[in-house]
Symmetry: C2
Subunit: 278 residues, 2 copies
C-alpha cells in the first residue's frame, strides 16, 4: 500500500469525526465558528492523524481505536498554525493557497479561534468512548506536547532566533519542540488508545521524536526560503540536511524492529513524511 | 468563618500546587516562563479555586481532593485574562496594579504564554493522582467551559457588542458564557473530584451558573465604567442590577438546600462573590 492511499483512507474518517465534534459554522457566534473551520476544512494531508491510527495498528488494535486522539492532535496542529500566522508572529497572509484566518476574520477572532481549537481538542478527547486511563494518558501527552516545554517553547525560540544565526544544535532543538513533540504525541497517544504497553510506548516515543525532527528537516529542504534562521539547510547545506534526515529515519525505523508486519503502515508513513517531494 | 479567611487558607495550597506544576521562570525559554507566571503570581483572590474546594467539601470530601481541578481552573482563568488584555482585544496596559503581560513581554510572547497556560491546565489535570473517570469528567467540563460555546464565544460577543447597544438578555448571555461557565466548571469539577453523584453535580451546576452570572453583575456594579456596552448596570440601572444579582443568588442558594452544613463554605463564598464591595 502506498502512503498516499493510507493518508486518504484515514483522512476521510478523521474529517468525519472533526465535523461531528465541532459546532457547525452557523453556531453563534458564527464568525468564530467559521474561523475555527477555515483552516481545518479542507485542511492538509492529515499526516499526524494517520500516524496515530497507524500506531494503534502497530500495537495490534484496529486503527480506528485511535480516532479521538487523531482528531484531537489535528485540532492542536491547526490551532498552532492559526496562531503562528498572526501579525505579531510570522505575519503570514496565505496558507495552503487561501487567506489566513486573521486576514479573513481579523486578529482578535483569529487569536480566539485558535484558543477555541485548543480547548476543543481536550473536549473531544475527554468525551470520547474509550477506557478512561488511556484517554487521560493521551490527554497528558497531548497537553505536554502543546505546552511551554514543547510546541509553544519551540515557537518562542523560533521567533527569537530569527535575529540570530542559530547552530545546528539550536535548530534541532526548535524542530524537536515545535514539530516533533506533537508528532510523537500523536504516535504515542494512538498506541495508548490501542492498548500498547509501556515498552511499546517507549519505543514509539523514540520513533516519533526522530521521525518528527526528520520530517521538519524534509520541510526545510522543500522550503524555498533556505536562508530562514531556523532552517537546517542553512547550516548543514542540502546534502548535509538530507543525510541528517536519513540518519534520523533509520534510527526511527530501528525502534520498530520488534513490531513486525503490524507496523508496516507506520513505516510507510514515516518514509513518506521524510522523503516526500511536495 | 468569614469568606476572606476561607479564600486565604485555600489560596495558599492552590498556589503551592501551581508553583510545583509550572516550569520555573528560568526554564528555557525564560521569557516565556516568566510571562506565564507574571499574572499568575501573586494573582487575584483565587475565588474559582476556593469554590472548587468548597464544592468538594459540599459533597462530603476533603476540600483538597479538588486541588488539581482548582489549580487547572486558575490556569484557564489566567490564560483568558492574558488574551483579553491583548492589543487586538481590550488593549489593557495594566491589571491588578501591574503592567499587563504584552506590555512587559511583547504581543507574540503574550499570545504564546496564554496558549501555554491553557495547555498547562489540561496537563496538570490529566497528570493528577485521582480516579481517571473523575479527572476525565472534570477535564471535559473544563474544556467545554473554555471553548467556543462558552468562554471564547462570550469574549467574541463581548468584543462584537461594543459597537451595539445590547439588551439585558444579550448581556446576560455574554456573562453566562464569558464568566459563569468557568465558575460552574470549577464548582462541578470540584464536586466531581470529591466523588459527587449525578444529582449533586446537576444541582451544583445550576448553582454555579447562577452564582457566576450574579458575580459578573456584581463586577459590573463595582466597575466605574458602567457605560460599557456589556454592563448590566447600563441597561438595568444600579438598583435593577443589584436586584437581579440578589435574585440569582437566592435561586443559586436554593439549589444547595439538600446539602446541609457541608455546603456552608460554598454558601459563604457565593454570598461574598455577589456582595463583595471591592
Amino acid at each position: 500500500m502506498k502512503a498516499e492511499a493510507i493518508l486518504q483512507a484515514h483522512a476521510a474518517r478523521v474529517d468525519r469525526l472533526l465535523e461531528e465534534a465541532l459546532p457547525p459554522a452557523s453556531a453563534p457566534p458564527p464568525e468564530l465558528h467559521a474561523a475555527m473551520r477555515h483552516l481545518l476544512f479542507p485542511g492538509g494531508k492529515r499526516l499526524r492523524p494517520a500516524l496515530a491510527l497507524a500506531a494503534a495498528e502497530a500495537v495490534g488494535a484496529t486503527p480506528d481505536t485511535a480516532l479521538p486522539l487523531a482528531a484531537a492532535v489535528e485540532l492542536v496542529h491547526t490551532y498552532s498554525l492559526v496562531h503562528d500566522d498572526l501579525p505579531c508572529m510570522d505575519d503570514d497572509v496565505e496558507r495552503r493557497g487561501r487567506p489566513t484566518v486573521h486576514v479573513l476574520f481579523g486578529e482578535a477572532v483569529a487569536v480566539l479561534a485558535g484558543d477555541a481549537l485548543l480547548a476543543a481538542a481536550f473536549e473531544l478527547l475527554a468525551g470520547a468512548g474509550a477506557p478512561a486511563e488511556r484517554l487521560l494518558g493521551a490527554s497528558a501527552d497531548l497537553a505536554r506536547a502543546a505546552g511551554s516545554l514543547a510546541l509553544v517553547g519551540g515557537q518562542v525560540d523560533d521567533l527569537r532566533l530569527q535575529e540570530a544565526s542559530p547552530s545546528a544544535k539550536e535548530i534541532e532543538s526548535v524542530h524537536a519542540r515545535k514539530s516533533a513533540a506533537l508528532i510523537a504525541a500523536s504516535i504515542v497517544g494512538g498506541a495508548r488508545l490501542g492498548g500498547g504497553d509501556a515498552s511499546a510506548l517507549a519505543k514509539l516515543r523514540r520513533f516519533g521524536e526522530a521521525v518528527g525532527v526528520a520530517f521538519q528537516i524534509a520541510d526545510d529542504l522543500l522550503d524555498e526560503d533556505t536562508d530562514g534562521a531556523c532552517s537546517s539547510v542553512r547550516v548543514l547545506g542540502p546534502a548535509g540536511a538530507r543525510a541528517r534526515a536519513e540518519e534520523l529515519l533509520a534510527s526511527a525505523l530501528g525502534e520498530l524492529d520488534a513490531f513486525g508486519a503490524a507496523a508496516e503502515p507506520l513505516r510507510i508513513l514515516a518514509r513518506y513524511a521524510v522523503r516526500r517531494d511536495r
